[in-house]
């Protein structure tokens, strides 16, 4: 932050142009926000934090190789330019075993190191792996619809649309599917995204440690209403979450008719809360047995084998 401020001062001093000054301050502000309080660089839970660490470490490892290479590229090209009489011309020099060994070894060693990081990271952060915690995980079932998100809380017996309320500091164990085309469930500040796919279930475990409101999106294109498919994550302190779940019971019930209504395409949908949920709704959606709007119901009466649970 300090260096940017200094840079801003310097520019102010040198350039007596108000517009330039504004631009400089604005750019500085942008960099600061990008680095400090948003997106995947500002994780609020253990998954996102671990992923950010891997991202930064890997970038640093590669920059250590890449920056010297870039400097050497410009330096070699410039020093060995045709007009430079001081440079030695080696018109037939085309092979050196020692150099060959080095140029194969540098990328190979780098990749071995990064490969190790990838191997450990992809096991530790496997989306279906439950998070270590003393608190039992909250179960949430996620359904992507055209074009909104349905969150079912099987243990609380409530459901929400476009609003995911979770207790801070508690792991959340998601089961996800889609009642339409593919989407991808993603809360950048919490970490890992995962596809929601019709007739299939994916699993994901996340946790928000810091109470707050975080943006969630679909990160897989799903048709015309796709940009209006964002939702909000509200991470509440545990006691407030219990109060919220209690008060949610006052809302309308998510029965067959209400669900059928919900499957009709709509976008930029305001958050809603349902006070009761038809039991087994999520599994019915996965099995394609739930009532729905766009497809004639006679086409999917029987549950089909091969559905991943």
């Amino acid at each position: 932050m300090k260096s940017f401020a200094c840079h801003g001062e310097l520019m102010r001093f040198r350039l007596h142009l108000a517009s330039m000054r504004r631009v400089a301050c604005f750019v500085a502000a942008l960099f600061l926000t990008s680095g400090c309080n948003r997106g995947i660089l500002d994780p609020v839970g253990p998954v996102g934090a671990a992923e950010k660490t891997i991202l930064i470490n890997s970038t640093a490892i590669m920059l250590a190789i890449i920056i010297p290479t870039m400097i050497a590229t410009v330096a070699f090209a410039w020093w060995f330019r045709r007009g430079n009489s001081k440079a030695t011309y080696l018109p037939d020099w085309e092979y050196s075993g020692a150099i060959e060994m080095v140029v194969w070894a540098i990328p190979a060693l780098t990749i071995m190191l990064l490969g190790g990081i990838a191997w450990i990271g992809s096991h530790d952060l496997e989306p279906s792996r439950p998070l270590k915690s003393t608190v039992p995980a909250l179960k949430v079932e996620v359904v992507s619809l055209d074009w909104k998100w349905l969150f079912i809380y099987p243990d609380q017996g409530v459901a929400t649309v476009n609003q995911l309320v979770v207790p801070a500091g508690t792991p959340v164990s998601f089961r996800l599917t889609s009642a339409t085309v593919w989407n991808s469930f993603f809360v950048p500040q919490m970490g890992t995204m995962i596809y929601t796919m019709p007739r299939m279930t994916t699993r994901l475990n996340l946790q928000a440690d810091r109470p707050g409101v975080y943006e969630g999106i679909s990160s897989h294109f799903s048709g015309d209403g796709f940009p209006g498919m964002q939702f909000q994550v509200q991470a509440l302190p545990a006691d407030q979450f219990a109060m919220w779940a209690q008060s949610a019971h006052g809302g309308p019930a998510l029965d067959g008719a209400a669900y059928s209504q919900l499957t009709k395409p709509s976008s930029y949908v305001k958050p809603m809360t349902y006070g009761a949920v038809a039991p087994g709704l999520f599994d019915a959606i996965v099995a394609n047995r739930a009532p729905s709007g766009p497809v004639p119901p006679q086409q999917h009466n029987q549950p089909l084998p091969g559905t991943k649970a």
Partner: protein, 670 residues
């Protein structure tokens, strides 16, 4: 079903001024151009020398012309997307509704990969490979012409969707179930499928042709390890094409069966599974990247050696690296969907396999670096692109390796970070190479060089424009911005999106300057003639013959000694101050021209159009027409025509005279 199937007046988008006016202007321009060419009396020349030509050089030029035209179309889509994303922020919905915007990004990707990058790369392979191998043509000259026209037919259908009906709104890979009839009932996806199937046939034929050419027809003495690196990369690229494009054909055919005949390969119902499509499309899709980038590496290798005045450093290492990439490129497709929920083992294996590609690629970067070491680097336009590429591509490689680490991919997959990454490797890797190759081989094709100053201006536009257009997308990707957004909800993204728009405009300026450069160079061609056929002091066999080369390339197939066939020969001539003894000239047999390709493509387009609109009688007619042409061609009597010995000898002696003069100039100057 009516006589014209689904086709009615409603297919024309009278309510959408942008596509309507664009197509009107383009149609008028094309008609105007046709009339102008007719008034000039150039049609017979075009018909005999290009449209029906079996000359690999002219087919190559046609591919590149197609690619440049489609580049303009694809770029128009790009700038519309950037403008929409700069305008449609917060309360504003911008000027493109979703159904239009979604067509544009789908068309942009489809056109840029299939009808810009592919024909551009194939065009260079056509023009350069036979010349570098020291032979007179590709293995199957007529098939070569057919390949081109089938590719053009696909491009035609994609562009036709602008004025009749709509294009796919499902992204450039048309993932089901979104692309199934249930969710995309219109003609858009059908345009996509049919156009790619037709051009895909052309691409597979190209692969057959070039693998055969490189393996079976080389000049005497041109053993595998004496082939120029560009030929090696072309071989690797065509081997991948041969293995990967049939997979694409199958995936698209399955989707067509779903859409046309009610099958259930990828549907939500009836036991379909859309994950299968995801796998198949990427089994093609990832190798496709290497189909494009390997020949690009070949171009950089030629440019680096020629303009450093030194052989390529580590030739064998380069060949080995190329073949390693060729093979591993087929084993990494799963990294396109780490977020599908596969376990840690699978994700890690494919992630590490993807990273391993970074090793031979890194070696290549170092080998170009050491090619310049100890050289006398001439800062010509192709060298600008080479250095620009090396600086840009290593960063693209870095972001690529990041995406190959599954836990990192979990947070940047499908984001603008990914968009920035693949544009960085495709523009910084492939497009820079194509522009370098365009400048490098232009004099060989047309006998005069392109203007250097304007060429450098074009380079700077691409280089600066690219960075302005895509670096902001990395930042936005970190902020959680995903791709394919017709509307932006977060107003704080605006500044970065505006910078990206400025970048796109600068790239657009570069494209305009490319046209200016071409026109200016044509106008001043008399001052920039390439008399000797070797304007860059080249090292490979294409510089042995005149610019432009005669139809038969070489009067006598060159005898190859050593890795740098032409360089060795040139140095011997300079040292001995004489050319090799005049060989014994023979009459040359060359394949005759044939309209087979253009007629087959005509019927294929007809058939494809009919299939898209359910005009079944026309589809059958198109198929019969295309088949009849094949039969007619198979029964032909005349295969080749003979170039008489007098003509060969006269041309060859003229070349020798020019070379002798050149030799004298060199020996006087040293």
């Amino acid at each position: 079903m009516s006589f014209f199937g689904r086709l009615t007046w409603h297919a024309i988008p009278f309510d959408q001024p942008i596509p309507l006016i664009t197509s009107l202007v383009v149609t008028l321009a094309l008609v105007g151009l046709a009339i102008w060419v007719w008034r000039k009396g150039w049609w017979p020349y075009l018909w005999h020398e290009y449209i029906t030509s079996t000359d690999h050089k002219h087919i190559g030029i046609m591919y590149i012309v197609l690619a440049l035209l489609m580049l303009v179309r694809g770029f128009a889509d790009a700038i519309m997307m950037r403008a929409q994303q700069s305008l449609a922020i917060g309360a504003s919905q911008g000027y493109l509704p979703p159904e239009h915007y979604n067509q544009i990004f789908s068309a942009h990707g489809t056109i840029m990969i299939f009808f810009v990058a592919m024909p551009f790369v194939i065009g260079f392979m056509n023009f350069v490979v036979p010349l570098q191998l020291g032979v007179r043509d590709v293995a199957f000259p007529t098939m070569n012409n057919v390949s081109f026209w089938l590719n053009a037919s696909g491009a035609l259908l994609v562009n036709l969707s602008l004025v009749l009906g709509e294009f796919a709104r499902t992204g450039w890979l048309a993932f089901p179930p979104l692309s199934e009839t249930q969710f995309s009932p219109g003609v858009g996806v059908d345009y996509y499928l049919v156009a790619l199937q037709i051009s895909g046939v052309g691409t597979v034929l190209t692969a057959v042709n070039f693998v055969t050419t490189i393996l079976k027809t080389r000049a005497p003495g041109m053993s595998y390890l004496r082939m120029p690196v560009f030929c090696w990369t072309a071989l690797a690229s065509n081997l991948i094409m041969l293995a990967a494009f049939p997979v694409l054909t199958v995936a698209l055919a399955q989707l067509m069966l779903d859409r046309y005949l009610g099958f259930h390969f990828f549907t939500n119902d009836g036991g379909g599974n859309s994950m299968l499509y995801m796998n198949l499309i990427w089994v093609w899709g990832h190798p496709e990247v290497y189909i494009l980038v390997l020949p690009a590496f070949g171009i950089y290798s030629e440019v680096a050696a020629t303009f450093s005045g030194k052989p390529l450093f580590g030739y064998r290492s380069m060949v080995f690296a190329t073949l390693t990439i060729c093979i591993i490129s087929y084993c990494v497709w799963l990294h396109h969907f780490f977020t599908m929920g596969a376990g840690g083992d699978i994700n890690a294996v494919f992630g590490i396999a993807s990273m391993i590609i970074g090793i031979p690629t890194g070696v290549k970067i170092y080998n170009w670096l050491f090619t310049m070491y100890g050289g006398r680097v001439r800062f010509t336009v192709p060298v600008y692109y080479l250095i620009g590429f090396m600086l840009t591509f290593v960063v693209g490689g870095l972001t690529g390796v990041l995406l190959a680490i599954p836990p990192v991919d979990f947070v940047v997959h499908n984001s603008l970070f990914l968009v920035a990454h693949f544009h960085q490797v495709i523009i910084g890797g492939v497009v820079f190479a194509l522009m370098a190759g365009y400048t490098y081989w232009f004099p060989k094709a047309f006998g005069f060089t392109l203007d250097e100053r304007l060429g450098k201006a074009v380079f700077w536009c691409w280089f600066i424009g690219f960075h302005l257009a895509f670096m902001p997308l990395y930042v936005l990707g970190f902020w959680g911005a995903t791709r394919r957004m017709q509307h932006i909800n977060d107003p704080t993204w605006a500044p970065w999106l505006n910078v990206a728009l400025v970048g796109a405009v600068i790239i657009g300026l570069g494209i305009v300057l490319t046209v200016v450069q071409l026109l200016y160079s044509i106008k001043t061609r008399d001052q920039r003639r390439d008399i000797t056929g070797d304007p860059w002091d080249g090292r490979t066999l294409e510089w042995l013959t005149l610019s432009p080369p005669p139809h038969y390339n070489f009067a006598v197939l060159p005898d190859v000694h050593g890795e740098e066939a032409y360089w060795t020969r040139k140095q011997t001539a300079i040292k001995e101050e004489k050319l090799i003894d005049e060989p014994n000239y023979q009459p040359i047999e060359m394949p005759v021209n044939t309209p087979t390709g253009v007629i087959v493509a005509f019927f294929a387009s007809l058939c494809g159009f009919a299939v898209i609109w359910y005009i079944w009688w026309l589809a059958i007619l198109g198929l019969i027409g295309a088949f009849a042409i094949f039969v007619w061609y198979a029964w032909r009597d005349e295969h080749e025509h003979i170039i008489p010995i007098e003509e060969v000898r006269a041309n060859a002696r003229e070349r020798r005279r020019i070379r002798m003069e050149h030799l004298h100039t060199i020996s006087q100057s040293t």
